[in-house]
């Protein structure tokens, strides 16, 4: 059946008049970009944008994730509820603190390290960079295990050193005052090297002619750093900062889940871990979706403001 209909269609192309082949070809040319991007766009729509719409939809319903139980439309009740929950306030504060900590660890500290170590070049530099980058590659189950061992009250290296220095420490993961710091240490250990490498690569891309010219004009080392190097680095720095703000809640998620489960008493949780708890621990799809929708809008707004600001602040070397 197939072959019979296909036969004549295939026959037309070579036999048809030149004009027809040309239109066919130009039609193909118009279509081809769409065909190339089709798989990616379809996958993105099915697995990112359609679910995003579903999340918004679920946020107006009461549903416990059991397929046989019908969803019940509750208007904005879930939003009202989630906004009044103390867990949400705690998670928002924590997320803000995490972001501040990682702005320090993966943007500011790398800038200092990269500036101070830029004189080291060649093979030594490659060797250092190779070592500094390793923690970034460690899988979350392993990094959480390593640090639980380093922090272990019995036999752990860090408590042993602390005790030797006269400041004994308990179980950092079980203490609400230190659980968040512990998560920051673990994730910071992984992100620091990445930040240093990104900033160093940015530094390496700045032509030394600028600094040379400025020093001939009598600029001091400090002036060169602040007036020339850092402004020229600003695109890298702005990008790192934006990544940190948008992604630090995702960086910390696996470690929170593996090491503290957000505890004790929500002291180390963050907004994304809260979404997981609402959805997959309390089986409240509406609550999780309402919070998720709010976070999505909030981060979207932050990103837009940031992009706008960076357009104005960034200094490009053209």
């Amino acid at each position: 059946m197939f072959i019979e209909t296909a036969g004549p269609a295939a026959g037309i192309a070579p036999a048809g008049p030149a004009g027809r082949t040309a239109t066919r070809r130009s039609k193909r040319r118009i279509l081809s970009p769409y065909l190339y991007i089709l798989p990616a766009v379809v996958l993105l729509l099915v697995w990112t944008y359609w679910p995003l719409g579903q999340t918004v939809n679920l946020s107006f319903n009461d549903w416990n994730l059991i397929p046989t139980r019908p969803k019940q439309y509750v208007d904005v009740q879930k939003y009202a509820k989630v906004l009044s929950l103390p867990e949400l306030h705690q998670a928002l504060i924590n997320t803000g603190l995490y972001i501040l900590a990682f702005l320090g660890i993966s943007v500011a500290l790398p800038l200092v390290f990269a500036l101070l170590s830029r004189k080291v070049q060649g093979k030594a530099r490659t060797a250092y960079q190779a070592l500094i980058f390793v923690p970034f590659l460690i899988t979350p189950v392993a990094s959480s295990a390593i640090w639980r061992w380093l922090f272990a009250p019995e036999g752990g290296t860090i408590p042993a050193i602390a005790a030797a220095l006269g400041a004994p420490m308990g179980n950092v993961f079980r203490d609400p005052d230190s659980s968040m710091t512990a998560v920051i240490v673990i994730v910071g250990w992984q992100m620091l090297g990445f930040g240093v490498l990104v900033v160093s690569a940015g530094l390496a891309g700045i032509s030394p002619d600028y600094a040379a010219a400025a020093s001939i004009d009598g600029a001091s080392g400090r002036q060169i750093t602040w007036r020339i190097i850092i402004p020229l680095l600003s695109p890298s720095l702005v990008f790192l900062a934006l990544m940190t703000i948008l992604l630090s809640a995702q960086w910390t998620y696996p470690i929170i889940d593996l090491v503290t489960q957000g505890g004790p008493g929500n002291s180390s949780t963050n907004i994304y871990y809260l979404l997981y708890q609402f959805g997959f621990r309390n089986f409240d799809a509406g609550l999780s979706s309402a919070a998720g929708t709010l976070f999505f809008l909030g981060f979207g707004l932050i990103a837009l403001v940031f992009v706008e600001l960076s357009e104005r602040l960034s200094f490009y070397d053209n």
Binding site: S32, P33, Y36, I37, P39, A40, V41, L43, L44, W47, Y49, W50, P51, L52, Q54, L58, P67, F113, L116, S117, V120, Q121, G122, R125, Y128, Q129, A130, L131, I132, V134, L137, I138, T139, A142, S143, A145, I146, L150, G155, T157, A160, W189, L192, G193, L197, A201, A204, G205, P208, A212, F239, L240, Q250, P254, L258, Y276, G292, F296, F299, G300
Partner: protein, 319 residues
Amino acid sequence: MAFITIAPPAQPGSADTSTVPERSKASGPTTAPAAGLRRTRFASLRLGSLRTVFLRTLPSHVLLIALAIVSIFPIYWMFVTAFRPPSDALSINPLPGPLSLENFQYVLKTIPIAGMLANTFGMALALAASQLLVAILASYGFARWDFVGKKALYLLFVGSWLVPFQVTMIPNYLLVSQMGLLNTITGVVIPQLCSAFAVMMLRQHLEAFPKDLLDASQMDGRSSWRTLWEVVVPNLRPALAALGIMLFISAWNEYLWPSLIMQKSDALIQVGIRGFLGAEGNNWGAIMAASSLACLPIFLIYIFLQRYVVDAFVRSGLK
């Protein structure tokens, strides 16, 4: 005193060493002549300047050594603990030894870790391959043609950065469960077949691809499809390799989605050894042995392809 007299010749020498690697970094393959030039110039001022260069960079070295120790010690300690006999697990001797494989034998006996590693390897390979393929096609479509709706469609990819996986995880989970793929590796792979990030990275490479080559290929009578596979892909091999390795490592280290989909399955290492780590409590030797096995493939990739790995990740941060 001696310092000052030697300092002037060191000046051009040090300037030279600082510019050359940068230039070679910017233009990749032209390293060889630049390095040769540097070597000959460097040799002439080697004797005196080497010492001053060393003295001037000493504080930087100290700083970098400290940073390297902070980075490496936890990993070193993981291996040291893993290779100790279980009775010595609590030893605080910073040097390794006595060597023992007992912890590894225990892990292999207790959990099917070899199977988990093989499954995870297959999963990461499948994901990296599919993300690379989808990204090659899409970035080629974006880079080669101007078409109606190009900006809007590209915005879909950029915008997906703003949709965190945690926000869409419930609908994604329901979809996977409707497909009957809960607790399967397919269920882990399917939602991530397209990486918007890979599309954006590759598009930058393709925008920089010489248009003359594309035109020449078209004049030779190649279709756009054959041009892609016979002209573009062979020329982009280093970039594709770097991106592929990076996608593989990210897939291997992915935690959130496997932990949701594989709740009742131990097939993947991320989830499989989680239970083991919890159950073993304070048996640190065994826990470290299992952890070091979980990062082993990534370490092997890193040891042999270090340059690619660092370049790919760093460039992703550089934009």
